[in-house]
């Protein structure tokens, strides 16, 4: 099946200079199948209009597409369509939660929102492997409220170190925010253990699902998280769209941050009243074409099956890890068994930027830098790494081409033993 899928992605036929493209940067953003691209054409040629605000036929068609998108998301991750709030990206979704907590503590949202209020003496817990998107907003919340920011450390093997879990997440903890899967190490974190501890102390759980939802089956209600966030663009969908998922009661109590049109019930010059979720978080004209395209993407993903995607990536990552082990001078960051198809590594004597440049010259697209996870890199004693990340359209050939290019890197830069 996977061999055929590749043909659905027109960009994969590109050539980089003289080389065919091996795209191993899906951890940053995924490529799109033709059907997703076609949805844009279809939407803008046949049913583009402002949603929810018009009686005319185009507006009705646009609204249908928009709401069908919510259903597609709910089908994928569980819950009801009203639990799906559209954002511009996962980052906005995480900020809406953190900033909503901030506003709750300042009297916005009334007594209903009181449960979200934080102050000195309270703590917020994150992990050392967070993407900046799930770290900086919580730093800001700590700064704004006087709450303490704590974090779960990471082991040398690239897993969460839970030995101190019960003292780090304690009775002061109001929020436990962590990533489902590390975007650098590929490690899948033990959500159940963390949620169980959060429940013991009565903390809200915020899950960064950016790297899980596209790559493995995920069921938010089953995981019992309170809020979750992910982006469409990493899951075969378009740029400009993210999802904030939450428990209905909590979403309806959380004060909105962005305010304006289409999220209010009544507005006078003096004051305004807000709609329930999801609309309360959807101020202004929404990314409607993007939602339509994402619905197509999710249909495609569902047809392939997320369990198959995970199996496929695990096959590829085995090949990558085995191959890298044979190349001298490469240190892989993390060694978790439970992982998705993503590998970050350090090439001894060659900076990641230079590694990436060399691989690109061979048509292999990887990501270099800190991958928006500076603290994690610091933890591993590097400022930057190179990351190869796979998706359903990658194949063994991509891995082979990556490995043979990688083997040439140190020789090219004149470090280590010359291999041939």
């Amino acid at each position: 099946m996977f061999a055929r899928l590749r043909n659905d992605f027109p960009i994969l036929d590109s050539r980089i200079g003289e080389s065919p493209l091996s795209y191993l940067d899906s951890g940053a953003t995924s490529q799109k199948p033709q059907c997703v691209i076609d949805t844009f054409t279809e939407y803008y040629s046949q049913r583009n209009a402002a949603v929810h605000r018009g009686a005319h036929s185009l507006a009705v068609m646009a609204t249908d597409a928009f709401e069908a998108g919510r259903e597609a998301v709910a089908d994928l991750v569980g819950g009801a369509p009203e639990q799906v709030c559209w954002t511009k990206n996962a980052t906005e979704a995480l900020n809406i939660v953190a900033l909503g907590f901030d506003r709750a503590g300042r009297g916005f949202g009334g007594p209903e929102a009181g449960r979200f209020a934080l102050g000195p003496g309270d703590s917020i817990v994150v992990t050392e492997m967070e993407h900046h998107a799930n770290l900086v907003p919580w730093q800001q919340l700590a700064q704004a409220t006087g709450a303490e920011l704590r974090w779960l450390p990471v082991t040398d093997g690239g897993e969460l170190d839970l030995t101190e879990l019960n003292s780090i997440v304690d009775s002061t903890t109001k929020v436990l925010a962590f990533t489902h899967v590390s975007n650098v190490l590929g490690t899948i974190n033990p959500v159940e253990t963390l949620v169980a501890r959060a429940r013991e102390v009565g903390a809200f759980v915020v899950l960064d699902a950016c790297q899980s939802v596209p790559h493995m089956p995920v069921d938010f209600p089953a995981l019992d998280v309170d809020f979750a966030a992910f982006s469409a663009h990493k899951a075969l969908g378009p740029t400009g769209l993210g999802v904030l998922w939450g428990k209905t009661e909590l979403l309806n109590a959380l004060p909105p941050v962005l305010t304006g049109g289409s999220m209010i019930t009544t507005v006078s010059m003096e004051e305004s009243a807000f709609m329930p979720a999801p609309q309360r978080f959807e101020a202004g004209t929404q990314p409607v074409a993007e939602v339509a395209a994402f619905a197509t993407a999710l249909g495609y993903l569902a047809e392939v099956g997320l369990d198959n995607v995970l199996d496929h990536e695990r096959e590829l990552v085995r090949i990558l890890l085995d191959g890298i082990a044979e190349i001298p001078g490469i240190r892989v960051l993390g060694s978790a068994e439970n992982r998705i198809g993503s590998v970050a590594f350090d090439v001894e004597g060659v900076h990641a930027h230079d590694v990436g440049q060399y691989l690109d010259s061979q048509g292999v697209a990887v990501r270099v830098g800190h991958h928006c996870a500076q603290p994690l890199h610091r933890r591993f004693g590097v400022t930057a790494s190179t990351r190869a990340s796979t998706y359903l359209y990658n194949d063994v050939e991509d891995c082979r081409r990556f490995l043979s290019a990688l083997a040439e890197v140190r020789p090219f830069f004149g470090v280590g033993e010359v291999t041939a």
């Binding site: 929810h52 605000r53 018009g54 009686a55 507006a59 009705v60 609204t63 249908d64 289409s262 209010i264 019930t265 009544t266 709609m275 609309q279």
Partner: protein
């Protein structure tokens, strides 16, 4: 004129939108029997309705004032007419049937006997943007009736 339009704007609906049964000043706490009140807004268009139910000695009474399109006003009028002939329990059954009909996207035959004039709204279900208009008064009714019933229980 499209037949869809004629189905949407049945003569019954246009008539109700003008005669507006039940459209009268609210009495609120001046009401004689146990009562409930609800204010519903359609944020899309700003249409609104204030509706109260009173469990009078002669039965159910509905009063409402509102501002909205012919569909929403006619719906409130039909509701008031039905309420005058029904028990609260019957009305809740009608409400459930009406709700289902509205979400049927034109695929359901209305139960004309139970729904009475409300069956004329069948055409509305083909216009997703107008379903809220038809349901506005019913949402208010359900809310207000619930209050009236619980204030009855408290007594």
């Amino acid at each position: 004129m499209s037949t869809q339009m004629q189905q949407l704007y049945q003569q019954v609906i246009l008539d109700h939108s003008r005669s507006r049964i039940g459209n009268s000043a609210l009495r609120r706490d001046a009401a004689d029997g146990p009562h409930g009140y609800s204010h519903q807004v359609n944020p899309t268009c700003g249409d609104e309705i204030e509706l109260e139910t009173e469990l009078g000695s002669d039965g159910l009474i509905v009063r409402w004032t509102g501002d909205g399109c012919s569909i929403s006003m006619a719906s409130a009028s039909v509701l008031s007419e039905l309420a005058a002939e029904s028990t609260p329990e019957q009305m809740l059954e009608i409400e459930a049937k009406f709700h289902e009909l509205m979400h049927s996207r034109g695929t359901m035959e209305p139960d004309e006997e139970a729904l009475g004039d409300a069956a004329a709204f069948t055409g509305v279900s083909k216009f997703p943007a107008r379903i809220k208009c038809a349901l506005l008064a019913w949402m208010a009714f359900k809310d207000a009736l619930g209050q009236a019933q619980s204030s009855l229980e408290e007594k």
